[in-house]
């Protein structure tokens, strides 16, 4: 009898240890062999039954369904969830089974600050989401993230280019905000649940000013015989809000800090409600710039570039920021798209072969599921974020929010649709706020008369360390280009 008892105890111990080792191996797998592919996820142990606590993982999508970018995020999120669930779902070691993802929609309308808090509160407190993904405008995200911070819900922010969404807390030195600024958020623990999977305004401007200094200025000097000491004359026309002012400030800071041969000769803010820009463009034209940096969203950016050429006769180099990387921009620009530049990090229409291969499947599946629609950049960020969430939960082995937060902090998986400086998705580890280091590039458009739209090619940078060649074509001055003052 004692022998039988001993054998039984040993057998149970072996099973427990084996299950523990198996669990450890399974939960460690994503960090040692990272892959966003759903086919590489671990499988449930054949020797144990799933936990009765097992349930679908609830992920809240924070998106403005009344704006094109929000709809793009919705389509991308649904595609990601469909792919993950079709491959069996997400393995949660604590439940010893794979579970599907259940998408909870937090529809933020036009994603203004006044519209975002309600839907996100409902998702967090009523739907009890395990994690949040999304956020588009900086103002809207700064408002709704407070709900996630207070409730300790991991939030992978895929829009909101203001770096305040991760740096407004103590670990980000309050984003440099003055002591009485209401946007400061003195909760380091809560802020540690915020993850920014998006380019910041500083990232935008860094690529733009470096392009002007390294590529456009030498071309102007050689073409027009300008003295090497003449700086490139840059005009900045921008929406008068946190986004526009942030880009302008970062642009000037970067020029000054790096002593770049670029001079901002005119700064022209306008109301966010503006729909017509001739007077602003006339002031810009009077300043005789070599190039115009347009800082706004898609519709206004297209209108500024159109009015500049069509109404004001400002035949210059226009550069737009990456939030405009959407098929709509090409459509709205039409024939006025020729020669235009766009700073970007996701280009369904452009990219060298290695890059196109990585997004080809996404574009194909997206189009198949959405009646041929071309994906935009906001959706690409969002799509990636679902696979980051999946990998983090599998690494954590639980849906416990603190454990998932820690798993996202430690995540190290191959880059997906968004290229990064390291080739992997890793949130900054040297600081306590969580941002990625995306690669951004500059595209130049060429008008295609058959399509009646422009199409882009990457013109800067030529190569990226650890990634390879990016450049597809040389930058050229647009037809009819008029340089600024000598």
């Amino acid at each position: 009898m004692q022998t039988k008892m001993l054998v039984a105890i040993i057998a149970i111990a072996i099973i427990v240890v084996a299950a523990g080792v198996g669990t450890w191996q399974l939960t460690q797998q994503p960090s040692t062999s990272p892959s966003p592919s759903p086919t590489s996820t671990p499988t449930a142990s054949a020797t144990s039954t799933p936990s009765p606590d097992a349930r679908p993982i609830k992920i809240g999508l924070v998106a403005g369904y009344q704006i094109a970018e929000g709809q793009d995020m919705d389509r991308a999120a649904k595609l990601a969830v469909e792919e993950i669930n079709a491959a069996g779902g997400v393995y949660v070691a604590a439940w010893n089974t794979k579970v599907p993802i259940e998408l909870v929609i937090a529809d933020t309308g036009k994603d203004t600050a006044g519209e975002t808090v309600g839907p996100v509160t409902r998702a967090v407190t009523e739907d009890n989401v395990d994690l949040l993904i999304g956020g588009y405008t900086s103002a809207g995200t700064l408002a709704d993230q407070v709900v996630a911070i207070e409730n300790r819900v991991p939030y992978i922010i895929t829009g909101a280019s203001s770096n305040l969404v991760t740096r407004r807390g103590p670990q980000g030195n309050f984003g440099g905000l003055p002591a009485d600024d209401a946007r400061r958020y003195d909760d380091a623990e809560g802020m540690s649940y915020m993850f920014h999977y998006c380019t910041t305004t500083a990232d935008y401007s860094k690529t733009v000013v470096n392009f002007f200094a390294q590529t456009m200025k030498p071309l102007l000097d050689s073409t027009y015989g300008f003295d090497a000491s003449r700086p490139l004359r840059l005009a900045v026309i921008y929406r008068n809000d946190a986004f526009g002012n942030g880009v302008l400030a970062d642009t000037k800071n970067l020029i000054q800090a790096n002593n770049l041969p670029v001079e901002v000769v005119v700064e022209r803010p306008y109301q966010t409600t503006a729909t017509s820009f001739q007077t602003d463009l006339t002031v810009v034209k009077d300043a005789k710039p070599d190039a115009v940096y347009v800082v706004d969203f898609i519709a206004n950016t297209a209108e500024i570039i159109r009015e500049g050429q069509k109404d004001v006769g400002l035949n210059t180099v226009y550069i737009a920021v990456e939030c405009c990387e959407d098929p709509q921009l090409y459509t709205l620009l039409g024939e006025y798209g020729g020669g235009v530049l766009l700073e970007s990090k996701f280009a369904p229409y452009a990219g060298p072969p290695f890059y196109m291969q990585s997004i080809e499947t996404y574009v194909t599946n997206y189009q198949a599921a959405n009646a041929g629609k071309i994906p935009g950049m906001m959706g690409a960020d969002t799509y990636d974020a679902f696979f980051i969430a999946k990998a983090a939960i599998e690494q954590a082995g639980t849906v416990d929010k603190a454990a998932v937060r820690t798993a996202i902090e430690q995540i190290n998986i191959p880059q997906m649709l968004i290229m990064t400086q390291t080739g992997t998705v890793q949130f900054s580890t040297s600081t306590n706020y969580h941002e990625i280091a995306p690669i951004t590039f500059v595209e130049q458009f060429t008008y295609n008369a058959t399509l009646q739209e422009a199409r882009p090619q990457i013109v800067y940078p030529a190569t990226v360390p650890g990634i390879g060649t990016l450049k597809q074509a040389d930058f050229v001055l647009p037809t009819g280009y008029q340089p600024g003052s000598p």
Binding site: Q66, I67, A68, Q71, K110, N240, R268, P269, Y270, Q271, T273, A274, T275, S276, F277, Q278, T279, D280, T282, V283, D286, A287, I298, A299, A302, E303, K310, D311, V312, G313, Q328, L332, G334
Partner: protein, 290 residues
């Protein structure tokens, strides 16, 4: 830096933009003048007009400027339906009822537009290209065409109001609706025609707007506010007031933007409105118009 040519261009663009405002405000003014109805969804009729012209241009391959007729006809028909099935039920009751009906219509029109045309911005492709340059002042041919079309439409409206029976009935109704009924005029027909006419003007404004600027289903709100400011500036119910108010508003808006900076246009335009109301509370043509 302010340059003479820059300022002259700005004034010219102000007139051009003002022409679109005039069309919208004239429609609002006619509806208010005859029916005493405050329609906050008037800007949404402009938006629908832009989309109808866009659809006619893309689907039927119509010239952008011919599509204005489609927009006018289509929005006039919508206006008939709106007057018949919504405003007629509440007209003459508490003013709040009319206001809430028009506020409800804003959401109905915006959501219908999203369902029909989606949320993305659109623009009507114009057959006109390039700039007319005279002495350092440039203006696009589209804006010149817009000014010409607005003048033709306004002359037609004046002819209709002065020289036709329905115009006479409208003017009579605007002054004494009870007495008009005693004279045997079917006031319901006058109302329905008036609303359709006002809507058609909004449709024309929308088509012109869509040729010059991109638009989306959210377009209506700001033009409505501007149109109200213009008819208050010019005098409620007055077409000449809408014309003068529209031009003043367009010029003030553009000049403020050029001289003071891009964040000032709306503030200065509304300062102008307040100044006029302080000096003459009935507006420039208040009580004297048609």
């Amino acid at each position: 830096m302010i340059t003479p040519s820059g300022l002259a261009e700005t004034l010219l663009w102000g007139v051009a933009n003002g022409c679109i405002y005039i069309l919208l405000a004239a429609g609002l003014s006619i509806i208010f003048g005859v029916m005493k109805l405050v329609n906050f969804a008037h800007g949404q009729l402009l938006m629908i007009g832009a989309y109808l012209a866009f659809t006619a241009s893309v689907v039927l391959g119509l010239n952008a400027y011919l599509s204005i007729l489609v927009a006018m006809g289509g929005v006039a028909l919508i206006g008939l339906g709106v007057e018949r099935f919504t405003f007629r039920k509440v007209l003459g009751t508490d003013k709040l009822n009319e206001i809430f009906v028009s506020l409800g219509l804003i959401y109905i029109f915006e959501n219908a537009a999203v369902l029909l045309w989606g949320n993305k911005s659109a623009q009507i492709a114009s057959p006109l290209h390039g700039l007319l340059s005279l002495g350092g002042i440039s203006i696009s041919y589209d804006r010149i065409a817009a000014m010409g079309i607005v003048i033709v439409i306004l002359l037609s409206i004046i002819f209709l109001m002065k020289k036709t029976k329905i115009g006479l009935a409208m003017r009579a109704t605007s002054q004494k609706s009870d007495a008009t009924q005693l004279m045997g005029i079917n006031i319901e027909k006058v109302y329905i025609f008036t609303f359709a006419l006002g809507a058609a003007l909004a449709g024309a404004a929308g088509a012109l707007y869509g040729i010059i600027f991109p638009f989306s289903p959210a377009l209506g709100a700001l033009p409505t506010i501007k149109a109200f400011a213009i008819i208050i500036l010019g005098g409620l119910g007055s077409i000449p007031g809408a014309v003068v108010g529209g031009l003043l508003y367009g010029i003030a808006e553009n000049t403020a933007g050029y001289v003071l900076g891009g964040i000032w246009p709306d503030a200065i335009a509304f300062v102008l409105l307040i100044v006029v109301l302080v000096i003459k509370p009935t507006g420039i043509f208040g009580g004297k118009g048609d």
